[in-house]
Symmetry: C2
Subunit: 116 residues, 2 copies
């Protein structure tokens, strides 16, 4: 979207990238999972407790999708029993930072509507 | 999302706001329309030319939705013939700024995938 709208080809490409980014961040639960991971949540059971309303099946699916998108890094810790942890990759940490202004915008412009 | 995940009620409310914000910004075409408006596009025919691939009907629908969301201001200019212009509200201008980091994230992390 940083391309000039006077160049339809470049603008179209920028739109595709923007749409991919915002769909990834905006897919239901992803924001909450990324936020939780950004605040130190690492294990499946912790995500389940931290993300209000998510089902076990949906959490497993989203964790897998976010791992495939290289936003989360899945790591098998060789303890007994084995532990699996999910942490934000560099890409994921930057995504967490990149959505913060949109969260602030929502709190400023949409937050009041819910309370008034 | 700025709320602590340790308070499920607050976190849930923040999630609702985030989801509303990102769905508004991420609904297909909205990003491109907001970007075009932010770059001086004001009239229906100009949006149609500026947003690649959008249909006339979809553009009319999105302009109405963005007006209802108070992102765009619709103004009837009393010329002959009458002109209708759409400009970003303060809320809209701030939304345009708020999605910029997400666009930059996409260009950095998703842009290369399309070219490599």
């Amino acid at each position: 979207m940083a391309a000039s709208h006077e160049d339809p080809h470049e603008f179209g490409h920028a739109c595709v990238i923007f749409q991919s980014a915002i769909e990834l961040a905006g897919r239901r639960w992803n924001g909450a999972i990324i936020f939780a991971a950004d605040h130190g949540v690492r294990r499946y059971s912790e995500f389940l407790a931290a993300v209000p309303g998510i089902s076990e099946r949906m959490l497993a699916q989203r964790l897998r999708e976010l791992e495939e998108a290289a936003v989360l890094v899945r790591e098998v810790v060789p303890t007994t029993p084995v532990q699996i942890t999910y942490t934000l990759s560099e890409r994921g940490r930057e995504l967490a930072r990149a959505v913060e202004p949109l969260i602030a915008w929502g709190e400023r412009w949409l937050g009041k509507e819910k309370h008034d």
